[in-house]
Amino acid sequence: MTAALLDPFSYAFFVKGISVAILAGWLCGLIGVYITLRGMSYIGHGLSHAIFGGFAASSLINVNYYLGAGVWGLASALAINKVTRTRRIGADAAIGVITTSSFALGVALLTRYGNKGPTFDAALFGSIIGVSAADVWALAGVTAFTAAVILLNYRALLFATFAPEVADVSGVRVARTDALLMLVLSLAILASLTVIGVTLVAATLVIPAVVARMLTDRFSRMLWLSSLIGAACGFVGMNLSYHLDVPSGTMIVLTGAAVFTVVLSVTGGRRLARTSRLGASNESATLVAPAR
């Protein structure tokens, strides 16, 4: 039994894959707290699709995947954030228009010209096989960068998430803080796509944060709980993926869903109520001037 459990660790590809899954889980769990509390859960889903367009385009014009897809993803994230803040149209509509168009462009480009990177299925659902040493290092770098950004902008990020307009009049540079968050979100999604896949990366942002919210009423505790849950789901999900021969992203997300179900059963529906207005952090909503 023990030998069977340890068996995958004798393969270099699995060690690389599980390292990426744990790091990606930790990273997405951390950023997911801000994303869910801002009511932007859908942005992870949309942004991963937008990055897929960048992935296809960078493959076509022979630009490094991380650079091309990263710039594309960041531009999409900033566009979504800007449209959302002006409240001309809702965040869901902005994400729907910008990211699905980008995804459609990616599919069209890959279908017409082919691709030089991961297979279509691997890009959509994640794959252990597709993980290279460069992917591990890239993700480690993004994780360290994100941790530094959150550590050094902790209060500004918290204030801008809880009450953006009040933060603005209290000396927080909200636009810069939002842009930083969008930058680390884009980088995190980009670096996680190889293992988790375009269609499932959003769940790694949302599920750990929602579970953590059910377990605590403190923001700082929610941050580390969500990161820990994300990393644990990555570890367990990758092992299940190997033993059941199911795509890695699928098993990581199903592990997260199982954790959510267990926590919901143990804590009861009362705790679920805490997540009912996760995105309604609009202390100053009445101060936000609608677009002219």
């Binding site: 550590l151 902008n153 505790r221 001037a289």
Partner: protein
């Protein structure tokens, strides 16, 4: 009043979101010792006026001038707050100190937050989640957050909505103390009898400034009819104007 004496001055400002302006030709000066209540029905432009004062909105015509380096604090309406957000009272107040880079508070910051919470009578509640406070305590928490910035001007949006009679009374007493200590206060309110009548200076607003002055100057039949769009009966009780609550008269709320 010179720019050195006033904190914020709005001059002939017109502001709106579409073709029709929400505020038109508004002139208002907030001095460094003022305690002003802005009254008017829903949609009269009270929140837009706050936006202009805060600087989160810019008038299409006219000007808004602020004294350089004036510190402004804002207390939001309780109804607009996400009470499920995972923060304690201490964390919420500490937000006002957003300048520090690292997350954990210094000993001085802890002492400052404790001092301001104690000052407002909610020091024992620092570790509680914000949802676990009463309406009056929640208002005090946001005032504490504002005070931590040592403001010269405190702007409050409907501070007595959702709080009980005792809390409202205590709130007005507290605001009076803060004003006496040198903090200028401007608040919006629907509550003509419970709040507005007790303030030293009122502004009646309905797209434009209808009247400015003492409660007696503003809370009277002709001004209220122009402001709320319906005839309102005003009596005098113990030297204070009292608006009779007539069912269906305008979009205002009155309380004893």
């Amino acid at each position: 009043m010179t720019i050195a004496e006033h904190l914020v001055r709005i001059e002939k400002a017109t502001f709106g979101y579409d073709a029709s302006p929400v505020l038109e030709d508004v002139t208002l000066t907030v001095g460094s010792r003022d305690f002003i209540g802005v009254v008017g029905p829903s949609g009269s432009g009270k929140t837009s006026l706050l936006r202009l004062l805060l600087g989160t909105a810019t008038p299409q015509r006219g000007t808004v001038s602020r004294r350089p380096d004036v510190a402004v604090a804002y207390v939001p309406q309780l109804e607009t707050v996400n009470w499920n957000f995972p923060i304690t009272v201490f964390e919420c107040v500490l937000m006002a100190r957003s300048g520090r880079i690292l997350p954990w508070p210094t000993r001085t910051e802890r002492a400052d937050v404790s001092r301001v919470l104690d000052r407002l009578g909610i020091g024992a509640l620092a570790g509680r989640h914000i949802r676990e406070l009463s309406g009056g305590q929640q208002q005090r928490m946001f005032i504490a957050r504002g005070l931590l910035r040592r403001p010269q001007l405190l702007l409050m949006d409907e501070p007595t909505t959702g709080v009980d009679f005792t809390s409202r009374h205590e709130m007005l007493h507290l605001l009076g103390e803060l004003n006496a200590e040198g903090v200028a206060i401007l608040l919006t309110t629907h509550d003509l009898n419970g709040v507005a009548a007790h303030l030293p200076r009122l502004v009646a607003l309905h797209r434009t400034v209808i009247a400015v002055g003492t409660p007696r100057d503003v809370i009277n039949g002709p001004v209220l009819e122009r402001t709320f769009g319906a005839p309102m009966q005003v009596l005098e009780h113990l030297g204070m104007p009292v608006v009779l609550d007539r069912h269906g008269a305008g979009d205002h709320r009155t309380s004893a």
